[in-house]
């Protein structure tokens, strides 16, 4: 049967395997442990490699090695573990090694808690590591979409030779929903030749080198510019978003991942009270979708960004809105989840203004 009931974490793992990923490196951390467990079981079944590294620092550098050697490779963790990977991620981007990194976010800062959170948005989209680089960041909102985006992620990573991040939260990782793997686009799973990979020179007449060092500033600048050309391309081709009820909306909510689902509930409740509310759901957090804001700015009164953070994506919303309309914020943190009624309250407050 096509549909299976799966946890987000499991769907993530299974989607990766179906995308041809045969190398997984990771280190246990709640709330993404199901990925590790699933991979430990499944990888040997499909002749793949599951390796529990001694730390996230190690794991991300194994990913660098494996990705550089030509494999489709996945690593997953949660907030503190992702912080430990920042140097490695910068290296991977700098050396143009494709890989998929998933962050199943939990409450911070520090050890924080293990309940869902979206407070690593900045880290994911602006670059938690040093230097000028970008991750392409995809934020699924359902388990089906998790499976879909994970497969796209591998494709995109290879296309741009750049790390792609799946940004989910503990709720998405832990919850179960039906997934249909059969309906996913299979062409994403075709793995193309990687003539640049370190596979041993063999009969190739040129050595392959994976590297991010360049002491000559002029050449290093050129390298940076080359990388940013890829990002410009991605900014055109990889923008993904969903718009719900935006056509006549007076107020538009902006939310991603699981919180977009809460927002949809709020829209329904608002409808009952005859308040027209819409939703812009960025699916690609980088490149951040600016288009839907352009489309809506004429009829909308204000935007309300809702996050499980103290206010992070709101900065991108502000930049997209560019002062044309007011941008408001409502957030819950530390594992608390915004409730539809509370969102409605905020909507009413905004309507009350002016």
């Amino acid at each position: 049967m096509a549909k299976v009931l799966m946890k987000g974490n499991e769907a993530l793992a299974e989607a990766a395997i179906q995308a041809g990923c045969r190398h997984y490196f990771g280190y246990p951390i709640t709330p993404q442990n199901e990925v590790t467990a699933y991979m430990a079981k499944r990888m040997p079944e499909v002749g793949g490699v599951f390796l529990q590294a001694e730390s996230e620092v190690s794991a991300i550098n194994m990913v660098y090695g494996a990705g550089g050697a030509g494999a489709r490779v996945l690593i997953t963790s949660s907030s503190p573990g992702i912080s430990l990977m920042q140097e490695g991620i910068s290296y991977i981007a700098g050396a143009e090694v494709p890989c998929v990194i998933a962050n199943i976010m939990r409450g911070g800062p520090g050890l924080g808690g293990i309940q869902p959170s979206q407070s690593d948005y900045f880290q994911a989209t602006k670059g938690g590591g040093h230097g000028d680089y970008k991750l392409i960041v995809l934020a699924p909102s359902t388990i089906q979409e998790m499976a879909e985006l994970v497969q796209q992620a591998f494709h995109i990573a290879d296309k741009y030779r750049n790390p792609v991040m799946i940004l989910g939260d503990g709720m998405l990782g832990q919850m179960m929903e039906p997934v249909d793997f059969d309906i996913l686009k299979k062409e994403e799973n075709k793995i193309e030749e990687k003539p640049w990979a370190t596979t041993g020179k063999g009969t190739r007449n040129k050595r392959n080198i994976i590297n991010s060092l360049e002491l000559d500033p002029q050449i290093l600048e050129k390298h940076n510019i080359e990388i940013f050309k890829k990002y410009q391309k991605a900014a055109k081709e990889e923008v993904r978003y969903e718009m719900t009820n935006c056509e006549e909306a007076e107020i538009i909510l902006v939310a991603y991942g699981t919180i977009a689902r809460v927002a949809k509930n709020a829209i329904e409740i608002a409808k009952r009270e005859n308040i027209k509310v819409g939703l812009i759901r960025p699916i690609s957090l980088w490149p951040f979708p600016e288009e839907p804001f352009k489309k809506t700015k004429d009829h909308v009164k204000a935007y309300l960004t809702i996050e499980m953070s103290m206010g992070q994506m709101i900065e991108d919303v502000k930049i997209a809105v560019n002062g044309q309309k007011e941008v408001y914020f409502y957030g819950r943190v530390g594992g608390m989840v915004p409730e539809p009624m509370a969102i409605l309250e905020e909507i009413k407050k905004i309507r009350g203004k002016k």
Partner: protein, 186 residues
């Protein structure tokens, strides 16, 4: 149709499985479903709950703030979730462990001595399946066939447990259909 069910109790009562059985069955019936567990170390010997939504529409938030059904398997669960039930919603109380009274007067409430019934069946662990039977007896949200398949799915690898659980499920249904009227606490 949208049912939003909170199952709650303590670890070991099979709370997660209750949710899973309903979710699988809902999926089998072609419904949209979501199952959201509480997670983390606080579960160790502590409380456990899961939120299950079964709906004709795509499921919005998997978190249930307004439950159509709450199944309270122990006292803290009753105290915590009673307030979250929508007006006219359903509250199932495991009266074997919960001696206190519920407070709401605008909902339908049933008290079922699930542990006692389970004991009669010779295995305390099937209390959860009894409760599923009760729920199905009261609310016809999913097909009988789907539930049966679902039991098979959730007990995969422990197939020997299926017959007893199905029996418990039937007992729950019987129990509620025979004496439901007396139990209505309204």
């Amino acid at each position: 149709m949208e049912e939003r069910i909170i199952f709650a109790g303590f670890g070991g009562q099979g709370i997660m499985s209750m949710g899973l059985i309903m979710s699988y069955a809902g999926m089998m019936d072609g419904k949209n479903v979501s199952w959201l567990p509480s997670y983390g170390p606080e579960m160790r010997g502590g409380t456990a709950n899961c939120h299950v939504t079964i709906s004709d529409e795509p499921v919005g938030s998997p978190i249930i703030n307004e439950a159509t059904v709450v199944v309270a398997m122990n006292r803290p669960s009753l105290e915590k979730y009673e307030q979250d039930i929508v007006k006219g919603g359903l509250l199932l109380i495991n009266s074997s462990l919960i001696t206190i009274e519920h407070k709401r007067r605008d909902i339908e409430v049933y008290r079922i001595p699930t542990n006692d019934i389970a004991n009669q069946l010779g295995n305390l662990k099937v209390a959860n399946s009894i409760m599923i039977g009760v729920l199905m007896g009261l609310k016809n949200m999913i097909s009988e066939a789907a539930i049966k398949i679902s039991f098979g799915k959730v007990f995969e690898g422990k197939e020997n447990l299926i017959p007893l659980n199905i029996k418990a499920y039937e007992r729950g249904k019987e129990f509620i259909s025979s004496i439901s009227s007396q139990l209505v606490a309204r």
